[in-house]
Amino acid sequence: MSLAKVLIALCCALTPMMAARAAPPVHAEGDRTLAPYFAVTGAAPGVDALPLKSTRVDIRVAGVIADVRVRQIYRNEGETPLEARYLFPASTRAAVHAMRMRVGERVVVAEIREKKTARVAYETARQEGRSASLLEQHRANVLQMSVANVLPGDEIEIDLGYTELVVPVDGVYRYVHPAVVGPRYNGAAGSESHRAETWVAQPTLRADVPARHSMAIAAEVESPVPVQELASPTHRAEPQGVGSRRARIELPAAAEHADRDFVLEYRLAGRDIASGVLLHEGDGENHFLALIEPPARAASGAIVPREYVFVLDVSGSMHGFPLATAKTLLRSLVSNLRPTDTFNIIPFAGGHSLLAPRSLPATRENIEAALAFINAQQGRGSTELLAALRRALALPAEVDRARSFVIVTDGYVTVEKAAFDLVRDNLGDANVFAFGIGSSVNRLLVEGLARAGRGESFIVLDREQAAIEAERFRSYIEAPLLTRIRIDFRGFDVYDVDPPQVPDLFARRPIVVSGKFRGKPGGAIEIHGFTSTGAYSTSIDVAASVLQDGQSKALAHLWARNRIATLGDYRQLTHDSTAATEITALGLKYGLLTDYTSFVAVDQVIRNAGGQGVSVDQPQPLPAGVSEFAVGAVPSTPEPEFMSLVIAGGGLAWWLRRRQRMKAA
């Protein structure tokens, strides 16, 4: 064999090996760890990396039903066609029922389709060069809008419509419009805290950078009785019309409105609970929604010995203001324990620890030791919620002692449903109370933990509210309003009633049941249960309690949304399960956005043949008060600022030289 042939053979053997070395490793989809990251904008010349320019929210609350319109405006100010993707939050109770897209003068009304079919329709339109939009649901409170073929100079408007029920708690009506999806902790690929969902890997702005789009909010409350108070505890705004039957509050368009939940609170004159029945008679089926006033809270005569297990999130996202608020809350909770109570504390981040191997009596010494233990906690690291919950639920329980788990967290995880299942399957006779801390809490997790744990959820926006919420918690625990609730319908032919089992009632809010009915509405709805003083029963006459409400046509959407929540919001489902099939059918029948159905709108005009362009993800601002540790930043020891160094170095050198010259003189 000649030398040339040897060399050629060698090259043939080595070339693929070198190519294999040079090729990037191929990861299976499930092997990729998906996590939020800090956004870098302006890296690609000619690409508008911030296509969402503004969001406008119009809220109209009539009676107990809120009708909400959200308008998102996307504009491409670059030179390259875009696919704009924007992850945004929704209320956990919102029934999203409408979407339309406006491209220039053309308006396209979106259709509801099965999720995969909608995605295929959208991708096809994108590749063909048609403008299209797709609205998908990743969680009950996390939605994603994708807008394809936004050409340079284009302005595309997307309008969403949703409705939700607003019921008073302790006399206060509270409507929440979330504005930002907090950065979710997603564990390493393959771990139990990981979810292979691409939406989690969101670009996030640095802590001192405001949102890159403006948000305007207008809220109007209409009531048959005068609106007594109207305010937003989260935003500075001047209410108008308070004292009349129509009151309004408005926030002008500004970027600083987009980094925290908008909370609207109001009270009505007279009775603070709207009790009665809403009815809607449709073509094929009739719907009702009953709101039943709970009994007044009765002070409990007997003091039941209790055990409290506090599970405190001290992960990186809780660093700073949220943890300071959580500590204030926990200090209030622990300090108010009775001497007959016992308690334990489990702070968790990447790992978890215990105050004591077994719950301690609430003596002065133990409470002081607990306060010192709480004060020493720092918000750092990851959020291994499931391991901490498992540890808490496995703590040995004491016989004859009522047990309550109190979970304090911002909820920035991706394992919500796994946590609900874990609590539901291991709770025994205990209750779970969940406190959400911060300006943009993951309310799905907080509400879901309480729901799975047959308890109550609380949201603490700031330190001032911590003591108030701690006091509410104490009153709920000591005297639940109504337990073991049973509802009977006498002479009222109802079916598909939701919820099938009404949970115990701690807060002073109406019992809400919805469903369908046949024939003429009539008869009575009877409520049976137990208060802290004994058995309780009440009933309402359906015909005499019908509430006149202009928005009762929304009842079908509200019922379907409640049914979907019961079926799937708070438990893990497989795609082929009966519940998933039912949710899909409900979504398609009632035109609702669900985990299995999406809205898609496709323009008929081909505007960008070939669908060339780039995809950009609109970066999320960090929620107000949340530190960069939430995005995986780890503790570090940065140098002092440059100017401080110069002043220190220059000043010292100058002073020493001057001193030396004076000595020499």
Binding site: G351, S636, T637, F642, L645, A648, G649, A653, Q660
Partner: protein, 299 residues
């Protein structure tokens, strides 16, 4: 003289520059520049004209430096060094003189090298050569003033920080992590270096880019160069001063990282401002001995 210069460097020099250089090398008396007597600008000293011409000839490099300084790709700390050089030149303006022919030729040669280098070398290296050309000119325009510290200050006007972070940052971080963890272990704290991080129990404290000590190193070098200039240090003394400055800053950075490890690891709770205070204290621990070292040596 003019013929001799042309013969030496041929036609490669840009013709206006060579005219200026030739004229500067031969002409007397000083104020009569380019036969423009009687005009307002005729009173401008010749060395200023020459410096202006040199600056004009090297404009692509200044443009690069200015762009890097303001476009956010580098920290604009070079402005401080530039203002310092301008201040020193203004302070010592009575020493200004027309550089010798040899100096002008050397400056021109380096300028040529910078022009050629921009074709083959990275922009920063070419800009460094351009700055060297200016330094050669300036050093000879200020005869009797310390040359090496002036060159050092001029080099500090370059947009160096991003490159220092890129090439020097990681080794500095690894050094700081290892030295700090050794110090912590000596203090009885369980800490282990893992690359550019210190691991304590299940917590990682990262020595990331802003912790590498590049800022302290720059300000330490700047202080050493400025003090050396003020103390009229020779090149040998300036070099020793620079080495001492770097060594002290490295030690100070290790101390800073060691102390700040305690709050970052959650072992103690300090207010937020204490981070800055600890950093400045550690930096002072480097600057005070450095200044005393330089001042006492020259005394």
């Amino acid at each position: 003289m003019s013929a001799r210069l042309n013969a030496r460097i041929g036609r490669a020099l840009p013709s206006p520059l060579i005219e200026l250089l030739n004229d500067a090398a031969t002409a007397t008396p000083r104020p009569r520049a380019f036969g423009m007597a009687g005009r307002p600008w005729a009173a401008v000293p010749r060395e200023i004209w020459l410096a202006g011409a040199l600056l004009a000839a090297l404009w692509p490099h200044w443009h690069y430096i200015a762009r890097r300084t303001v476009d956010g790709s580098d920290d604009p700390w070079g402005i401080l060094a530039l203002l310092t050089v301008i201040g020193l030149v203004l302070r010592d303006r009575r020493y200004l003189a027309v550089p010798s022919t040899a100096a002008l030729m050397a400056s021109a040669a380096v300028a040529l090298l910078a022009a050629g280098a921009s074709l083959v070398l990275p922009d920063l290296a070419a800009a460094a050569l351009a700055m060297l050309a200016l330094a050669v000119f300036l050093v000879h325009a200020l005869p009797g003033r310390p040359a090496t510290p002036l060159v050092a200050l001029l080099m500090l006007t370059l947009p160096l920080i991003a490159s220092l972070h890129f090439y020097l940052g990681y080794p500095l971080r690894v050094f700081a992590a290892n030295a700090a963890s050794a110090l912590l272990s000596a203090l009885g704290v369980s800490a282990q270096a893992a690359g550019a991080a210190i691991v304590h129990d299940d917590l990682t404290v990262l020595i990331d880019a802003p912790c590498a000590g590049i800022g302290m190193l720059w300000v330490g070098s700047y202080t050493a160069a400025l003090l050396s200039y003020c103390q009229r240090a020779s090149w040998r003394t300036t070099a020793i001063n620079a080495v001492v400055a770097c060594a002290l800053v490295l030690v100070a950075n290790v101390l800073r990282n060691t102390v700040l490890f305690f709050p970052e690891a959650g072992l103690v709770t300090w207010p937020a401002w204490s981070h800055e205070a600890v950093g400045l204290l550690a930096f002072s621990c480097a600057i005070v001995p450095l200044a005393l070292f330089i001042l006492r040596r020259s005394a």
